[in-house]
């Protein structure tokens, strides 16, 4: 009898707390599922304060939209769906009109043209909160020649405020422009805006150029040229288009250069007597330091963002794999462990990931892994993908994709680090070996 009594009381004690919890305090629920889709936004044409400014008003809004949509994280709500017509920059926004068409962000702007001076004021709004985004109410001034940069800066401010990522639209890419048939490919250095606009050529096509790399300040480019008959590292001042040989190398072949984060040193590969090792060069003094002494091939070095380590490619284990060592050389630790061959590693600007090229089972991949080699993810697969480069915010990777066959072309592609938003980058001709600049200031 006593047993039954205790059992009944215990059972009751198990039931009643549920009732008590349901009645006490707020209702608690946990959301663990969601969706991944672009965030809808609206960007009406900016307001022109004069007829002369009207062409820029429309173009600025289009470039802002292209930047945001091109990131893969946003999509534009069609103008045909607008309920409110945006006619005055200072008129309060009717948020219900924008909520009704599911525009979750709204970007408005005004353009004033004075001579060749363009002044752009803009605001970004969180429509469902019914308020202006923090830090998304700015005024930009520039010349009409630089109107695209103004648009990129507007898009950067909106993108950064909504996503929390760093900015990257106002950046440039240096690459090798390729034209002509495969057996007679003409190559020359070119630089362009990140979206393929404003292409400008830096060298002629009389000699082969390879692997251009921006300096941390974005004003110089390292590259490998065969101008002297064998590969040598050159440095080119973009503003003045002046170049010089950076490494004499005593007749040795030097290639695959990359700046240190402080811009004072360069790490590169040098080949002597059939052996290729890594060296670093102090630009000011010209002093070199040998970093590896292995009888295998060490190449494609890339500094960590803090400059303390180098990730590179080596075939010391028999096949090309990825290793990390101190920036001063010494013992290296292998981080790639999957099947296939790994190459061209590049350290992310955030420092958490390494992008690489992988060849396995007859396919080439662009992938990312953590710096300890874990969480490897392959983002692409094709006949030939290679040479990844990171956007300044570490969110997007650009690379070279070459198509198969005698008429195959080399083109630039970009992909989000999630593997989504894989797309070609528009260039006038073919392109290879892209290198992303830091964010322009």
């Amino acid at each position: 009898m006593r047993h039954a009594l205790v059992a009944a009381l215990c059972s009751l004690s198990l039931l009643l707390p549920n009732v008590g919890q349901a009645q006490d305090g707020p209702l608690r629920i946990e959301i663990t599922d969601g969706v991944i889709e672009p965030l809808p936004f609206a960007v009406p044409d900016f307001i022109a304060t004069s007829p002369a400014a009207s062409q820029y008003a429309e173009q600025l809004a289009r470039v802002v939209s292209q930047d945001l949509v091109g990131s893969g994280l946003f999509r534009e709500v069609s103008k045909e769906a607008y309920i409110s017509q945006y006619t005055d920059f200072n008129t309060p926004v009717k948020f219900p009109d924008w909520r009704a068409i599911n525009a979750q962000a709204l970007i408005t702007g005004e353009v004033t043209l004075s001579g060749n001076q363009l002044t752009v004021r803009f605001r970004g709004y969180d429509v469902f909160a019914g308020k202006q985004l923090d830090g998304a109410g700015l005024q930009l001034t520039g010349t009409t020649d630089g109107w695209r940069r103004i648009a990129h800066k507007v898009a950067d401010a909106i993108y950064s405020q909504i996503t929390g990522e760093g900015k990257y639209f106002d950046s440039r890419v240096v690459f090798v422009s390729e034209s002509g048939p495969k057996n007679n490919r003409q190559k020359r250095l070119a630089v362009m805006d990140y979206d393929g606009e404003n292409v400008q050529y830096l060298t002629n096509s009389s000699s082969i150029v390879l692997a251009p790399r921006f300096s941390p300040s974005g004003d110089r480019v390292l590259y490998t040229s065969y101008e002297s008959g064998f590969p040598q590292i050159h440095v080119l001042d973009i503003g003045r288009v002046q170049q010089r040989v950076l490494s004499a190398g005593n007749g040795a072949m030097s290639f695959a250069p990359r700046f240190a984060p402080d811009g004072r040193r360069v790490v590169y590969s040098q080949s002597e007597g059939g052996n290729t090792d890594l060296y670093s060069l102090d630009i000011a003094s010209g002093a070199t330091q040998r970093l590896t002494t292995s009888p295998s091939i060490e190449t494609a070095p890339s500094y960590s963002p803090d400059g303390s380590q180098i990730v590179f490619e080596s075939d010391r284990s028999g096949t090309p794999q990825i290793y990390i060592m101190s920036a001063n050389g010494g013992a290296a630790k292998r981080i790639s462990s999957g099947k296939g061959r790994y190459g061209t590693p590049v350290w992310s600007p955030r420092g958490d990931l390494v992008a690489f090229t992988k060849q396995n089972a007859g396919r080439f991949h662009i992938g990312v892994m953590r710096t300890d080699g874990s969480e490897e993810r392959l983002l692409t697969a094709s006949f030939l993908d290679e040479g990844p480069t990171w956007s300044p915010n570490g969110r997007v990777i650009m690379f070279t994709r070459e198509t198969q066959g005698p008429t195959g072309r080399a083109l630039l592609y970009s992909v989000d680090i999630s593997g989504r938003n894989l797309k070609p980058v528009r260039t006038p001709a073919g392109g290879s070996d892209p290198a992303w600049s830091p964010l322009q200031e």
Partner: protein
């Protein structure tokens, strides 16, 4: 010695002699396998070995080309107006000044002024507005949702809610309001990279053909019947009697009573009315999930779990001013704020028409704390 014995001895002796001499215990020789070998020199062996272990050159420089002549320099720079007149080549590279590519003038640097234009308080128009369906626009990426959603019919409007078209029937007794057919946008349940898509395609190509007939159902094994209880031996009456368990003392009963009464005795916090059923909670959870978009969040913000506190009006709409970040875990303040903004947008957007909650239990769902944990969706 008898004659028979003699004959037996002679016979056995002859047999043993024949066995020893005749080789009956000798085994036949094993067949000899012959393998032809060739002798090579040490130099040849090293050369062969070197070919096997020689590393492949991945980024070796190509064959040196003939040096370019400076006179061939072609200038193709854009825009053409940017040619300065004072560009001179540096000595180590160019022996003589030849035309060089036009310098690249960086785009003019815009001046940024942190001037926030003044704006007056917006006049909100809360009158009911028609719900417009958004025109289809080009999509850069696939949509990822908790469950896969098939591509809707082309003439069906995209909406968060799926509903059939209703057209008023002529002559009907009861006139029904017209309703446009809507469907949710197509979605997959995970992000498929190009590498995964090609891997899946290869797997399908290599997959065995599906069976035409389904497998026979596996017969359900009979559940083991419980064995009849073993009757206790009745030999010893003292052992046959079950061992008495420790008698529950009054303290145990009292403790149980305290547990029951103590946990339910919270009159100050008690809310009236029955609690929400698990189905009603699930409905609310699913409704918010459909609007929780983590696609536009930074990688750091996608690692933050936030708890959002809010109040609902009696018709199930969120009170926008009541939303606040109760707590966060897994990231810095900036990432937590981005994660909170996404959660807030989800609540406001999907709650704009009012969540479907039982009105008679308003006391139960007036105050809510929603935990947004992105761990599952982040890995899709």
């Amino acid at each position: 010695m008898q004659t028979g014995t003699k004959i037996s001895l002679i016979g056995h002796g002859a047999l043993i002699s024949w066995a020893l001499v005749g080789g009956i215990f000798r085994s036949a020789p094993d067949p000899v396998s012959v393998q032809e070998v060739a002798v090579i020199s040490l130099q040849d062996f090293e050369r062969l070995n070197e070919q096997v272990t020689s590393p492949d050159v991945v980024e070796a420089p190509e064959t040196p080309q003939v040096p370019a002549t400076v006179s061939d320099l072609q200038v193709d720079a854009r825009p053409p107006d940017d040619v300065p007149g004072d560009v001179l080549p540096e000595a180590p590279v160019k022996p003589e000044p030849d035309p060089l590519p036009e310098p690249v003038e960086p785009d003019p640097e815009p001046e940024i002024q942190q001037v926030v234009p003044e704006v007056s308080e917006p006049q909100l128009d809360d009158s009911p507005l028609p719900q417009l369906t958004e025109p289809e626009v080009g999509r850069a990426i696939d949509r990822v949702a908790p469950t896969p959603i098939a591509e809707p019919e082309p003439d069906v409007a995209i909406d968060d809610v799926t509903q059939d078209e209703i057209t008023p029937e002529a002559g009907a007794d009861e006139v029904q309001p017209a309703q446009e057919a809507t469907a949710q946008e197509a979605a997959s349940d995970r992000t498929v990279t190009e590498a995964e898509a090609q891997s899946d395609a290869l797997s399908l190509q290599n997959a065995p053909r599906p069976r035409i007939r389904p497998k026979r159902p596996t017969p359900v094994a009979d559940e083991p019947k419980p064995e009849p209880p073993q009757s206790a031996p009745q030999d010893d009456p003292a052992e046959a009697e079950p061992t008495p368990s420790p008698a529950p003392d009054d303290a145990a009963i009292e403790q149980a009573l305290q547990d029951v009464l103590g946990q339910s005795a919270q009159p100050a916090e008690q809310k009236s009315g029955p609690p929400l059923t698990s189905g009603e909670k699930e409905g609310l959870r699913v409704a918010v999930s459909q609007c929780w978009n983590v696609g536009a969040l930074s990688s750091a913000a996608q690692r933050v779990t936030v708890v959002v506190a809010l109040n609902l009006t009696p018709d199930g709409k969120p009170v926008s001013g009541s939303l606040k970040l109760a707590s966060s875990e897994g990231g810095d303040q900036a990432a937590a704020n981005q994660a909170y903004q996404a959660a807030r947008r989800a609540i406001l957007r999907c709650g704009s028409k009012g969540f479907d909650l039982p009105a008679d239990k308003y006391e139960q769902w007036r105050d809510i704390e929603m935990t947004f944990n992105p761990e599952r969706i982040r890995n899709k």
